[in-house]
């Protein structure tokens, strides 16, 4: 017989837990749900747009009756549970309906706080919490004129804005002298007040309510000091309190909320709790993102998997008032131990303040231009040292070198037909429609349903903003700790460290050690694991061909029609007639349809059939060529200019230097592709300053540049240092590559790696620590002993042509 699970509270957190549970263990429980409201589960954070007339109730329904029945869930709508008998394990409602449970989930949410003043129970005094409240506000807006909203916080301002749009004359009363003082500093608060006043709202700041006036119905509000204003409707929006009544009456330990541990379990092991009613490590959350994280963890334990922990959330805030952009996160006030960076442009209506502590972002508040809010929030959560970004930090992420995507950022102003994802041709309208129509909350969900941001990823920021904009802010952002993939909870860094420390040397032992959820892994983690094992144990690990993406397995680039492209290595881009003749012969012999010069100064033979590859490689190999690795997460090419041998401006022999660099580094596998260049003078014809490692020759030596790339997001290199000899160039190059090989996450190029660890750190490792540099370089040379075997020659000479030929031909 199946165990019985009862959920009390038919809201977002509770039902989300059920959804997560059904994904993990669809048949584990007979599920019964009690909800006190007469509706299915709806998106409470979108009540403000409903009030403002921008959305309808249907738009915000998340789970309708059909969802419950198709999942075999018994739903009791409009029934309030009043008693939990923990000994008999039975819950009972007001009207005597009861249900027994093996496990109980409490998601009773929160109650709006009603200030204890005379008249607070008069008709016309309401709170702002559910569909019922919205209906009453809409009703009032049709029959009455004057509304008073008590509370100048997030909820109060959203209510006031909605009522104003519905035609009422609205006054907001606030106890403090700054609006939203928990989310905004006085400057941003004043700017917000100004723009709301421009919309016709009235404010009474620093006013304390003494009484609600009226006999049959509310007539006005009186304040301390005697001022009295007229009111036909009073909305109390002064905060929420976790709803712990039921839990307390059942004898569960509660403080401000129902106290739970990191598995979302209460003091009664059969009873779990999630949502706004919960107090976790002393904090009660009122935003959606943390509640969804809790739901995921709770579902994991209800499914008896037992490997997930909730460790608390950092939250950020946005206001759901159309046309007003504000953002805040963390501690944005600061104290003696912090420093501020502030930008204020009153004419443009822009204000930004970033609070730094120990060179890390401690908090941020922004008004008017919140485009970079998500970026600051990420830097804050990841505790990134921002000293190297500091001078450009205030101007936003696109100032770090974005090739034009950064400027198209104001998502609110974008047309529905504006293309957001250039790879897949997805427009703003498509994404917004999917977010609303398919009830999407996370970046991953948008990627799965629309494909936007799922290819090159350069529009990820835009998609996140669209999510925030459409959902009104507190959508589920990527969790702080990002696991490698769905197969594990561990991060890239944890897995790699574990492989090294625990001496894991095969795919299987690594997946077993970390208790991979899917025994085979998936297409995302297998190539990453293969790389980590290979780079950690270069002499011992046996490469797993089936965990390589096809390009690396077939040592050629797959094209859209299933043919391949072949690029022989041409050292430093310098060739000769004999080599060219050999390539021409091969191209003719195998009827190569297209021959193309690549961006990296090599020759590309396109449209080769897979079964011809080994034969072609044999011919190329006889002519002295090795693989160009143009298909791999590996050293690609070293681009060079002709240097001082020919050029009248050349200062050093950049071509020979490039050839030496390529001979040193070819064959090495890296977390992502790795490109180099050597220019003979600062005119930089080889474009060394957009390479992963670039050398710019000068009269007195060699400037070494790192962390650049062209492509989606152009990033110019940072200058690492200047050295005097070619030997030093080679050693620094080997050391930098090895550092990146050991610390870069799979599919992270040197540019984001450098921004993550900081230039100072790389300088410290490579420039300031000569013995450390030598050790890194030594490890690189050691690894190269096993890597510099030409895969083309190997495959061409192999007796079994394996996957390159058909298993058989029939028919």
């Amino acid at each position: 017989m199946r165990e019985k699970l009862v959920l009390i509270g038919n809201g977002m957190a509770g039902v989300r837990t059920l959804e997560e549970l059904l994904k993990l263990a669809p048949d584990a429980y007979d599920i019964t749900v009690f909800g006190s409201e007469p509706y299915g589960n709806y998106n409470r954070i979108l009540l403000s747009p409903v009030l403002a007339g921008e959305k309808t109730i249907d738009d915000i329904m998340l789970n309708d009756d059909a969802w419950y029945s198709s999942n075999g869930i018994t739903l009791h709508k409009g029934k309030k549970v009043t008693k939990i008998d923990r000994r008999k394990r039975i819950v009972t409602t007001e009207d005597g309906t009861d249900a027994s449970y093996d496990r109980l989930l409490l998601a009773t949410g929160s109650n709006p706080f009603v200030i204890p003043v005379p008249g607070n129970n008069l008709p016309g005094v309401i709170t702002f919490r559910d569909i019922y409240d919205v209906d009453r506000m809409l009703e009032a807006s049709q029959n009455y004129k004057h509304a008073v909203v008590i509370g100048g916080g997030l909820l109060g301002l959203e209510a006031a804005n909605g009522l104003k749009l519905r035609g009422m004359n609205v006054t907001v009363v606030h106890l403090m002298d700054t609006l939203m003082e928990r989310q905004l500093d006085p400057v941003a608060g004043a700017m917000l007040k100004k723009s709301l006043e421009d919309r016709g709202l009235h404010f009474l700041m620093a006013h304390s309510t003494e009484a609600i006036v009226g006999d049959e119905h509310v007539k006005g509000v009186r304040f301390k000091g005697g001022l009295e204003i007229a009111a036909d409707l009073v909305v109390m929006a002064v905060g929420i309190r976790p709803n712990t009544d039921l839990a307390k009456s059942a004898g569960l330990h509660c403080e401000r909320g129902i106290v739970v541990n990191d598995t979302m379990q209460t003091y009664d092991p059969r009873i779990y709790s999630v949502g706004e009613c919960v107090q976790h490590r002393g904090i009660a959350y009122g935003l959606v993102a943390p509640l969804f994280e809790q739901a995921k963890v709770c579902a994991n334990h209800l499914a008896q998997l037992g490997y997930s922990r909730y460790e608390g959330s950092l939250t950020s805030t946005k206001l759901k008032v159309t046309g007003i952009d504000l953002f805040s996160a963390g501690d944005f006030i600061g104290d003696d131990s912090t420093e501020d960076i502030v930008l204020k442009d009153a004419a443009r209506g822009v204000y930004k303040k970033i609070v730094l502590k120990d060179n890390k972002i401690h908090g941020a508040v922004m008004y008017g231009d919140t485009v970079d809010g998500a970026w600051y929030f990420q830097l804050m959560r990841d505790e990134i040292d921002v000293s190297d970004l500091r001078e450009n930090l205030m101007f936003g992420q696109h100032h770090l070198g974005d090739s034009g995507h950064g400027q198209t950022n104001r998502v609110a102003a974008m047309e529905d037909s504006a293309e957001v994802c250039g790879c897949n041709g997805i427009c703003k309208g498509d994404i917004v429609k999917a977010i609303i129509g398919k009830k999407l909350f996370t970046l991953e969900e948008v990627r799965a349903h629309t494909k936007a941001s799922s290819s090159c990823g350069s529009c990820t920021g835009l998609v996140e903003q669209l999510l925030a904009h459409t959902l009104g802010g507190d959508y589920s952002q990527t969790p702080k700790k990002k696991s490698m993939c769905g197969c594990t909870e561990f991060t890239h860094d944890e897995v790699r460290e574990g492989i090294r420390v625990n001496r894991l040397k095969t795919m299987q032992t690594a997946r077993d050690f970390f208790q991979w959820k899917n025994p085979d892994g998936c297409q995302s983690c297998r190539p990453a694991l293969n790389y980590y094992l290979l780079s950690t144990w270069p002499s011992e690990y046996v490469d797993d061909a089936q965990s390589r993406f096809i390009n690396e397995r077939a040592h050629a680039n797959i094209q859209k029609d299933g043919t391949y492209s072949v690029i022989p290595r041409i050292w430093g881009g310098e060739t000769n007639p004999a080599e060219l003749r050999a390539i021409a012969d091969v191209a003719e012999k195998y009827e190569v349809p297209t021959v193309k010069i690549t961006g990296g100064q090599r020759i590309d033979l396109l449209g080769v059939k897979k079964e011809d590859l080994p034969k072609m490689w044999a011919d190329l190999s006889r002519a002295g060529f090795v693989s160009g690795h143009a298909y791999g997460k590996a050293l690609r090419t070293v681009k060079t200019c002709v240097g001082k041998t020919w050029c009248r401006f050349g200062t050093q022999d950049s071509t020979t230097l490039g050839i030496k660099l390529e001979k040193l580094t070819w064959g090495s596998w890296t977390p992502h592709k790795f490109k180099m260049a050597a220019s003979g003078c600062p005119r930089n014809c080889a474009e060394a300053t957009i390479k992963d490692f670039g050398v710019v020759c000068v009269d007195s030596g060699y400037e070494l540049h790192v962390g650049g790339n062209g492509g989606v997001k152009v990033r110019a290199t940072d200058l690492l240092c200047k050295v005097e000899t070619e030997e030093e160039v080679l050693e620094y190059c080997a050391a930098f590559m090895q550092l990146y090989r050991e610390e870069g996450r799979y599919l992270e190029r040197t540019a984001p790696y450098l921004e993550r660890v900081g230039l100072s750190y790389v300088k410290q490792k490579i420039v300031e620590d000569p013995s450390g540099r030598k050790i890194l370089a030594e490890r690189f040379y050691e690894s190269q002993k096993y890597a510099q075997v030409d895969p083309w020659k190997q495959h061409a000479e192999a007796e079994d042509q394996g996957e390159f030929v058909p298993l058989s031909k029939i028919g």
Partner: protein, 105 residues
């Protein structure tokens, strides 16, 4: 059509695939970690990518062109993507792989 022997199971790598060439186009024959064998048209329902070249895990393969994930048993894309490629009967007897190519469109 009747069952046709196409090769040894050992010739298909675990978590991999091989191609059988037919007059009606290539058929991809997959082998999972547990030695289950599946056969599909070597054409992703998305843009015709060669599924035989993808990474195989559990009973699935990820298309090498745009990373659609196709279920090997039915030949259909895993949600939210939709579309199916034709499947073929395949069996292993005494270490040999036999294919029954489907003639249905």
């Amino acid at each position: 059509m009747s069952w046709i022997e196409v090769g040894e199971l050992a010739e298909i790598p675990r978590l991999g695939a091989r191609v059988v060439r037919t007059a009606g186009g290539n058929i991809a024959v997959f082998r999972t970690a547990t030695d289950a064998v599946f056969a599909l048209d070597d054409k992703c329902p998305h843009k015709g990518g060669p599924l035989s070249q993808g990474i195989v895990f559990e009973n699935r393969v990820a298309c090498p062109l745009h990373n659609w994930v196709i279920d090997l048993q039915e030949g259909c894309a895993v949600g939210p993507d939709t579309g199916c490629t034709r499947k073929h009967e395949v069996k292993v007897e005494a270490g040999k792989v036999f294919l029954l190519p489907s003639t249905a469109a």
